[in-house]
Symmetry: C2
Subunit: 146 residues, 2 copies
């Protein structure tokens, strides 16, 4: 029986999700050399994206196992879009590809930190700012301060 | 009738949750001066914590409405501990209080960025490192590189 694959920006939804191992102990989780990311109930892990040279925090994205595996494979940030419910190779449309310089994981492996070099116009935010965090709270109000 | 309040690190669980407004439009959400954080289905928002001087990303925490309101009130980071299911005034026990220098919100207001000055020994991670992101991926394995 032939099942046509759905087209999805080059990825197939029918593709088997890559799986990551589970750490055998708290010590292995926190001090081990095994990448054993802990995805949440929705199968996602938070991914903080930081400019590798300036240190500016650019955005917070989400990754499922496939997005994380693809990111490590192609060394460019691939997120999972929660609004579109599909893989999102950042910059594929906008040109704002994020070249991966370094990927870090936190102590309990439920968050990753990407240090990237943004390509194209150097931006990361769909609103047009370099970083998504272009507003600062001041006296309870927000001020744009890119 | 007298109902004794539960003791909870100085906060009362019986306290009314502060509420934040909802943005009236996409433009208000993205460009407005109204702090209108979008909490997830569990009532939480991701909070990236960055050292205000070095730019180092220290940790990723979570906040409910009360934690965010308290953070803005006392100008020290207050998170919501998902494991203990209660407010967590960072540093209350360890001394690693995080003085808030600046709080930013992202374009669609579902993440906040805290720029802080860590007090005490200057650390943020329970494992003993300055930052929780002390491990780097290299060829699929993790290396400690604080």
């Amino acid at each position: 029986m032939f099942l046509p694959l759905a087209r999805n920006e080059g990825y197939s939804k029918a593709m088997t999700q890559p799986s990551f191992p589970t750490a055998a102990s708290k010590d292995a989780l926190e001090r081990g050399d095994l990448l054993a990311p802990r995805f949440d109930a929705n199968g996602l892990i938070a991914a903080i994206c930081q400019h590798a040279e300036t240190g500016e925090v650019l955005m917070l994205g989400w990754m499922n196992a496939e997005a994380l595996a693809r990111t490590l494979e192609i060394r460019e940030a691939v997120y999972f879009s929660r609004s579109r419910n599909e893989l999102w190779h950042k910059g594929e449309t906008s040109g704002q590809i994020q070249k991966l310089v370094e990927l870090r994981v936190d102590c309990d492996q439920d968050a990753v930190l990407l240090k990237v070099l943004p390509q194209g116009d150097g931006g990361a935010c769909h609103v047009g700012f370099r970083s998504c965090f272009y507003r600062v709270e001041r006296d309870g109000k927000l001020e744009e301060r890119p």
